[in-house]
Amino acid sequence: MPDLRPLALAGAALLAGLPTASAPLAAQEWRDFRAARQAAETESLEVELIYGAGRLQVTPSEMPFLYDARVRYDASRFRPLRAWTREGDRGRLRVAVTSVGETDGPATIRLDDWSVDVDLDDLRRRGDELGRIDLALHPGVPTDLKLLVGAATADLDLGGLSLRSLEFATGASETDITFDAPNRVRMERLSLTAGAAEFEAHSLGNARFDRLEFDGAIGDVLLDLSGQWDESATAAIRMGIGELTIRVPRDIGVRIERRSVLISLDAPGFEKTDSVYVTSNWDTAEVRLEIELKAAFGSVEVERL
């Protein structure tokens, strides 16, 4: 079952007439909120973040902070939320920005068992004037990271962190995910979901994932899987309408199984039998990547680096 949240978000954002910026702005009251905690005695961390609209940045923290969340928000329309709980040596952080005051069309964004209200009206205004969240995480503490963003611009710089899992879902956004250094632990699951988005992921090989799941609805998508590969992995890539480019490093064996007929798949350097595309080094390669590819319409291009 594909994750439909981003689509719903994208729909909501588009219904709200996202880029029209026609409504006059009420007086703005910008504030800076910060919540930071040192890493003492926390062995693992779970982070959940919900952001309706704005600019999101995630980076490794300067030492000694377990997390350092900075939120710039317009207090006349939004309020930052953060909740911290700890069970034993496992901590859980939740960060969100919620709409306040009179809202004429609140949409509720849900992530697991908590939800945040976002006024659709507030989603109209894009970019920096909506504020931003800068989240920094401790590089050494194993972390499960869940990010759910609506019409936000997301810039995730995740190299060198210790991510055990990453779930990222976005509605209508511009996303750039980069792992410029290897993830310090194996990542069990890397799940990326994008609605109507411009989506770029760089050096995903450095994420050291066991399984990659990508769901894209509409848009231009780049999945660059280069990086440090030390173990085999599987990937399930589903794409709606749009252009998908997958880059794989030359030194790993890659096998692509095409699960739908209605796509044009261009994979130079692959040997094709029926709906299966395999690199020539598949039998000899120590590290292998198996990709299951489903797409509705559009073109898929696989490049070997």
Binding site: L14, P19, P24, W30, D32, R34, R37, D128, E129, S264
Partner: protein, 597 residues
């Protein structure tokens, strides 16, 4: 808890304190009270940095009280306004630290420089302890000298605190001494209001207030504060331990190396610096107005001085945005909005029609192909038929409405007509897609788009038919300059769509929803066969429905698309045989179905 404290604080605390304090005023500090908060502003500064071991490294300060001061390291001697404070090792720790400080502060003015100097005083003090000996002495002397210039209370003088009875009877300390509790109630009020923003996080913070700091102060290593600490103003250098929370209303909190806070650090103003080995067991939480209204990357929390001009800057930025909305960017955004809306409309139409088309191909491919072929090869006739159908729609509806007994049929009639239009449009799309597929293109990417099955015909045909609408949408981006072309294109697109839909509708009527073929080969040079439809022109029994429309099921039973092709063959044969110029429907259609073009 805290809020309950603060709620009663202004009243209860003020009352209690006022009643109790006069009696318990104790240990007022040596410094006169009027000196409290008498910070001297730095108005000018200049840095001189000469290279070489003995090179001069000096800081010149011009203060608000018109005094000028020069602190200089030169030729192994440290001087303040010309007086020698001590010596230093060339290339040693002290001069290195001083030069690093000057490099950092070069160009800094006013409050930031003052803060830097205040920190430097603390650093020099600890450096003095670390270094020991003559250089340690110099370091301390320099620290004292700078503190003197800045009007800072020297650590030695401010260590005294006044112990008073706080609200609820608990003992609490005020630092530096010399201030009555009731003088601070206003600030505690502000602290309460500001803390309310931090919500539940601040619960219980103020009940256990053990120390209120209202001006420069330091808690040294080894000192323990037994409860919460509130910093109202001034610079607090904390190297010791706080058992509770630290609340910062304003001023500058420096958590030095080795400092330990068991609770949270809650900040609603001022700034907080945390040294590498300082430990905050709880959370560092802050919330205050942004220094500037645009959401920039600014990582460092703003100082009180930097925050001061915030309100006007908020106003200014707001005005900028409003004027933009009315101006150039607003129009661009507006146009993009229109373009996006219309493009999404076209996309929506494509998706809905596409799904219908795919279903139609799946369930009634033969019929759809028959209709499509009819439109392609008998366009004029189909159009005329469609036009007649459309013209007759309302009279027919009227008749059905007038003959009361036929009322139940009306919805079906309307629905059937609508469906016929849609099916007709999809058949046109199929035909267009097929034509597109049969063309050869010079460009490779176009060749790659060519596919030869009905699914692709329908989808690519829809793309072709909806393309003018998408183009119209995109023209919105051009704004007013291309208004005329956009209108023209929209008009052409609508007319073309109406013509095609009418033709499709006509073809549906002509073929009785694709159940029989009426295609005539006007060129007369043999049967028209679709090279790309999977044709085996078997002369099998799948001929045209013989008796007017009764053969609805026959065609579906025919294998795949062989039907229309076979029908073409026979139609052509019929035409050859009869060669009368009359339309060659075998089924002998009703008169009204034959409005020849």
């Amino acid at each position: 808890m805290m809020s309950s404290f603060f709620r009663r604080a202004p009243l209860a605390a003020a009352c209690t304190a006022l009643a109790v304090l006069p009696a318990t005023r104790v240990a007022v500090g040596q410094q006169a009270a009027q000196e409290a908060g008498a910070q001297i502003r730095i108005e000018r500064s200049a840095v001189t940095l000469s290279s070489g071991d003995g090179g001069r490294a000096a800081l010149e300060l011009g203060l608000a009280d018109d005094s000028e001061h020069v602190i200089a390291f030169a030729d192994g001697a440290i001087s303040l306004d010309g007086d020698r404070l001590g010596g230093y090792e060339p290339g040693g720790t002290l001069v290195t630290a001083w030069r690093a400080f000057l490099r950092d502060q070069a160009g800094a003015e006013g409050a930031p420089l003052r803060r830097g100097l205040e920190e430097l005083v603390g650093t020099l003090e600890s450096l003095g302890r670390e270094l020991g000996g003559a250089e340690g002495e110099s370091s301390r002397a320099l620290g004292l000298g700078i503190a003197g210039i800045l009007g800072m209370r020297q650590t030695a003088a401010v260590e005294e605190t006044a112990e008073v009875e706080g609200p609820g009877g608990a003992r609490l300390s005020i630092a530096p001494g010399g201030v009555r509790f009731d003088e601070l109630v206003g600030q505690l009020d502000r602290l309460r209001d500001a803390m309310a923003r931090l919500g539940g996080a601040a619960d219980g913070s103020a009940d256990r207030l053990a120390l209120i700091v209202h001006d420069d102060f330091s808690v040294d290593a080894g000192d323990v504060i037994g409860g919460n600490l509130a910093l109202l103003d001034g610079t607090l250098r904390l190297a010791g331990q706080v058992a509770g929370d630290v609340l910062v209303l304003d001023g500058h909190l420096l958590l030095a190396d080795g400092a330990r806070v068991e609770g949270d650090v809650l900040q609603v103003g001022g700034d907080v610096d945390v040294a590498e080995t300082a430990l905050v067991t709880g959370e560092i939480l802050s919330d205050f107005p942004s220094p500037s209204a645009t959401a920039t990357t600014g990582r460092a929390p703003p100082s009180a001085a930097e925050r001061a001009p915030a309100p006007p800057s908020v106003e200014r930025v707001r005005e900028t945005w409003e004027s933009r909305e009315r101006g150039f960017f607003g129009r661009i955004a507006h146009n993009f909005g229109h373009a996006t809306e219309e493009l999404l409309g076209a996309l929506g139409a494509f998706i809905i029609l596409g799904v219908l088309g795919l279903l139609l191909v799946y369930f009634a491919r033969a019929r759809l192909e028959t209709v499509a072929d009819t439109v392609r090869h008998e366009f004029a006739r189909s159009f005329a038929m469609g036009l007649a159908g459309e013209v007759l729609f309302f009279p027919a509806l009227l008749i059905l409405a007038v003959l009361v007994i036929t009322w139940p049929i009306v919805p079906f009639f309307v629905l059937a007509t609508g469906l016929a239009m849609v099916v007709g449009y999809l058949a046109v799309a199929h035909g267009a897609g097929e034509m597109f597929a049969q063309r050869r293109y010079r460009y490779e990417w176009l060749e790659r788009l060519r596919r030869s099955n009905s699914y692709y015909y329908v989808l690519s045909g829809l793309v072709l038919l909806l393309l003018p609408f998408a183009a119209t949408a995109i023209l919105w981006i051009g704004g007013g300059t291309v208004d005329f072309f956009r209108g023209l294109l929209a008009f052409v697109a609508c007319v073309a769509t109406w013509i095609l839909m009418t033709a499709g509708f006509g073809a549906v009527l002509l073929t009785r929803v694709g159940s029989r073929s009426v295609v005539v080969d006007w060129r007369g040079d043999g049967p028209t066969l679709d090279p790309l439809v999977d044709v085996e022109p078997s002369a099998g029994p799948a001929g045209p429905a013989a008796s007017g429309g009764a053969g609805a099921g026959d065609r579906d039973a025919a294998p795949s698309a062989a039907g229309p092709a076979a029908a073409d063959v026979e139609d052509a044969a019929d035409r050859d045989r009869e060669d009368t110029g009359r339309s060659p429907e075998v089924g002998g259609p009703d008169e009204e179905e034959r409005p020849h073009a």
